[in-house]
């Protein structure tokens, strides 16, 4: 029996809010042995990050922590004052890696200083020993030329390299427990794969216990031994990865699995989870998922369900008998492209380049960067065309040029056979409309939903007030927004509803083409499914052409007809989505695809590697 390093029983975090005490974390219990890893999966607002912050004594001022037991090694954290925790444990016995590598390092101090200061502060090592250790750890996490990079500053490192620095920093004191909160969410998929592999290797080699917090089921499946699914502050299902993801017993776990596009499987309509997390104030007297659960019965409201065992080590909180997995999945409506082959392309790019050049000044020689490099591209009417690439590949620059927000340095873009430059004002607005990535910042917070949606008409002076009102009503119905929302402000809506508003605003002029730049990457999995289904429906019902820009292979798999893979400004591979995703011809495409975390693949290889999925 290995040593238990972290033992948590009935951990709760209560936030003091204007509407009363909110239980952000409710009676969470788990124990971690040396060398074990636990994944905590959940959507935004589930309390997964609060759990981590509670373990690290990093909770915001408005939060309070209670637990019947909270032990780290032989320290009782419930009784330990924060000064002592900071002095003896933080960073030494328990370390943490954060989500945002770009902002989590102090910009004004060298990497070396930030790596070494923790162990030097506590007197574990003198400066020289700390430096040796830092160089060793930098090499270990795969940072080339540690001796030079030791004296460099964070801005001289890329995002992936900074996350490696963060990992090296967390490992400096050889902690017994390491907590990683969405460590790869901000990174490109190929970098994510490297970082996850590195973390799994280090955890095994150094015999640490690890808690990995993520919203991505694929990441969990391929990285940890055990998983806890978190919802509304509680662990609704816990067990070995193969148990929970392979044979889920809680309806929420099952629903999450169905909502995530799985690149390896056959394309089917995603089962979106309706509604949103309901925050629980005060006592818990019913199942927390009951309001969104497809199987809910009056029993679910009778009391708060306790933990039940499905198998040894596999527990869940649900009073219902095991649900059969939905056998018949709905097919995705496709809506065949109109007159495939014969129709002229609706978007046509010939030799399009965009060169960014810095201005020559007395102090600088001008230098230039080819963000988009001689791209030829045709998009047919009624198809969904996906442009895939990692950050910096030039895909967003291409989208901006398509929308007329930027002008190509070379080449020509035609829409409906006319050059984009010749299309102005309402002519262009009636053909092509954008949907942006972040619905939290792309809607004016001071305007009502109705005004926001009608804005394109108002801008071009189209229609009378009554006509605009009529158009808003129609388009809101089309995107599935209740009419009552037209007098609300954006901050009263959830992320998914806001993205529907953005889509409604784009549709009100009845354009032929929607340019969607990462339309779901700011949304939770269950909400992403709603938006992808909506886009597929719109395409089938009104014959929209969708130009989709994304880094997410799952999204491409879910709705794209054709796909082009972009790397360093060029298109390296293109073709029908099924062909490119299943038998890629180019090495870069293969790397990209192999890097995408897949639950099915992870479960299959995990079963092979581990033999029996009981972890002993």
């Amino acid at each position: 029996m290995a040593e238990t390093v972290l033992d948590v029983e009935a951990l709760s975090v209560t936030l003091d809010t204007p509407s009363g005490p909110l239980a952000a974390v409710h009676h969470v219990s788990f124990a971690l042995e040396r060398g074990q890893s636990l994944g905590i999966v959940g959507e935004s607002g589930s309390g997964k990050s609060m759990t981590a912050l509670a373990l690290m004594n990093l909770l915001p001022r408005s939060a309070t922590r209670q637990a019947t037991r909270l032990r780290l090694l032989d320290h009782d954290l419930t009784a330990l004052p924060d000064r002592r925790f900071a002095q003896d444990l933080a960073g030494q016995r328990i370390g943490m890696i954060f989500q945002e590598p770009m902002t989590s390092l102090n910009p004004v101090y060298t990497i070396g200083r930030q790596l070494t200061e923790g162990v030097v502060r506590t007197g574990q090592m003198d400066a020289a020993a700390a430096r040796r250790r830092a160089l060793e750890m930098m090499a270990r996490v795969g940072l080339p030329d540690p001796a030079t990079r030791f004296d460099q500053y964070p801005h001289q490192f890329s995002g992936g390299q900074r996350q490696r620095v963060m990992i090296a920093m967390a490992l400096m004191a050889e902690p017994d427990v390491i907590i990683a909160d969405e460590p790869t969410t901000a990174l490109d998929v190929t970098v994510q794969a490297q970082i996850l592999r590195l973390m799994a290797d280090l955890q095994r080699d150094l015999g640490m216990a690890m808690i990995l917090i993520t919203h991505d089921l694929g990441v969990v499946a391929q990285t940890v031994d055990r998983v806890a699914v978190m919802y509304a502050g509680e662990f609704v299902e816990t067990g070995q990865v193969a148990q929970v993801l392979g044979a889920p017993r809680h309806p929420y776990t099952a629903a999450l699995l169905h909502a995530a596009p799985e690149p390896d499987g056959a394309r089917h309509r995603l089962a979106a989870i309706p509604g949103q997390i309901r925050p629980v104030y005060g006592q818990r007297s019913a199942c927390v998922f009951e309001n969104r659960c497809a199987h809910a019965t009056p029993d679910c409201r009778a009391g708060h369900p306790g933990l039940r065992a499905a198998a040894p080590g596999h527990a869940y909180r649900c009073v219902l008998p095991p649900q059969p997995r939905p056998a018949a999945v709905q097919p995705q409506p496709t809506g065949q492209p109109r007159d495939v082959g014969s129709a002229p392309p609706v978007i046509s790019l010939t030799g399009v380049s965009r060169v960014f050049a810095s201005r020559a000044t007395p102090f600088h020689r001008p230098h230039s960067l080819r963000a988009v490099d001689r791209v030829d591209l045709d998009v047919l009417p009624g198809e969904t065309f996906a442009l895939v690439g990692e950050s910096g590949s030039g895909k967003s620059t291409l989208a901006r040029m398509l929308l007329g927000l930027d002008t190509p340095s070379e080449g020509e873009i035609r829409i409906d056979g006319q050059p984009v430059s010749a299309l102005q004002g309402v002519d262009r607005a009636r053909r092509i409309q954008p949907v942006f990535q972040d619905p939290y910042s792309s809607l004016n917070p001071r305007r009502r939903i109705g005004e926001i949606i009608a804005q394109p008409m108002a801008l071009h002076g189209l229609g009378s007030a009554a006509e605009r009102s009529q158009a808003v009503e129609e388009v809101m119905a089309r995107v599935g927004l209740p009419e009552a929302f037209r007098h609300n402000y954006p901050n009263q809506l959830s992320g998914g509803q806001r993205q529907r508003v953005a889509i409604a605003r784009a549709l009100i002029l009845r354009p032929e083409i929607l340019v969607c730049d990462e339309p779901t990457s700011a949304l939770d999995v269950s909400v992403q499914a709603q938006i992808l289904n909506l886009l597929a429906d719109l395409k089938a019902e009104i014959g929209l052409t969708l130009f989709l820009i994304t880094h997410d292979i799952g999204v491409v798999h879910q709705i794209a007809d054709r796909v082009a893979v972009m790397q360093a400004g060029r298109i390296v591979e293109r073709g029908p989505a099924a062909r490119v995703l299943h038998s890629p011809a180019e090495a870069y495409t293969r790397t990209l695809l192999a890097a995408v975390p897949s639950i099915a693949r992870a479960l299959a290889t995990g079963a092979q590697e581990r033999g029996q999925p009981d972890g002993h």
């Binding site: 900071a86 945002e100 390092l105 500053y153 102090f363």
Partner: protein
């Protein structure tokens, strides 16, 4: 870093040249120096005579070149009003004003920085509210009024400090407080906002996860980041102390550049006014240059020239 400094110095010099030209033009077009010397009631022939004698009839560019050449050689021209070389006047008065400016900036720093930092570390506490209260009232109080009140209280009523003059260091205490107080609100608010932002930042959370708390956290991780914007503002404030000395020196009867400027303006002494305006502007430019270099020394991201 060296390249960055050279760049900044070159830019500062360019700004200084343009400034000197603009001030020269403004003064020579806005006023007629010949009239200024002759006095309001002079006969036109006398004015014409003066214009010839002093060379005011030559093209303005020629006169600028002559003046600028003189300035470069340290010859600031001759004062009509004081009948002395301007350079001598300035050299006499400058140390007093410099002392006043540095002392009042110290007053600003000593009050504003700690207040801003403490307020930011305890947001919405009684301390924070008090600091904001001080800032708002200080902003609302006019400089000259504060000066008079302080004289009445500290010099006349309680006789703790001298009323006016510049004989001893004690004479500078009241004027420094008056002049320094005017910058406290702006600097304190900026320090508070900067500190608040930094304390909320991801890298502070990282430092807390490493076990840093309290004073060590502020000193080792927050302070430098929070003070970067404050440095630029302090530089501008020091420049403002020089121009602000015109009023304060008059109230406290201090014989510095500010009072020299006022007297020269009243006496239509164009050569002196010209040099003083130019000097005050140059102080701004120099302080901004200093702030740029300091910022670059403290923030590696700025060093990429």
């Amino acid at each position: 870093m060296l390249k960055y400094i050279l760049q900044r110095v070159a830019l500062a010099l360019a700004v200084a040249v343009v400034l000197s030209f603009v001030t020269f033009l403004l003064l020579n077009f806005a006023t007629d120096p010949a009239y200024a010397i002759a006095g309001e009631d002079a006969e036109p022939e006398v004015v014409e005579q003066i214009r010839k004698t002093y060379g005011f009839d030559r093209p303005v560019l020629v006169r600028y070149a002559e003046w600028a050449g003189g300035v470069l050689r340290g010859d600031f021209g001759e004062s009509y009003y004081w009948n002395k070389p301007v350079a001598e006047l300035v050299a006499d008065r400058a140390p007093v004003t410099l002392l006043l400016a540095v002392m009042s900036l110290s007053v600003t720093v000593v009050i504003a920085l700690p207040l801003g930092i403490v307020a930011a570390l305890n947001p919405n506490s009684a301390l924070d509210r008090m600091a904001l209260g001080i800032a708002v009232s200080a902003q609302a109080v006019p400089n000259f009024w504060l000066g008079l009140i302080m004289i009445i209280l500290f010099a006349v009523q309680w006789r703790l400090l001298p009323v006016s003059g510049d004989a001893t260091l004690m004479h500078f205490v009241l004027p420094s407080i008056v002049l320094g107080a005017s910058s406290v609100p702006a600097v304190m608010r900026l320090t508070r906002t900067g500190m608040l932002d930094v304390m909320e930042s991801d890298y502070i959370r990282t430092a807390r996860a490493k076990g840093f708390r309290g004073a060590a956290l502020v000193r080792r991780h927050a302070l430098r980041n929070a003070l970067l914007p404050v440095i630029s503002v302090l530089a501008v404030q020091l420049g403002a102390k020089f121009s602000g000395s015109v009023i304060t020196e008059t109230i406290f009867a201090i014989n510095g550049l500010g009072r020299l400027a006022l007297e020269s303006i009243l006496g239509s002494d164009i050569p002196t006014v010209q040099i003083l305006i130019f000097l005050f502007a140059i102080v701004f430019v120099a302080m901004n240059l200093l702030a740029d270099i300091l910022n670059a020394a403290l923030d590696p991201r700025l060093r990429i020239a």
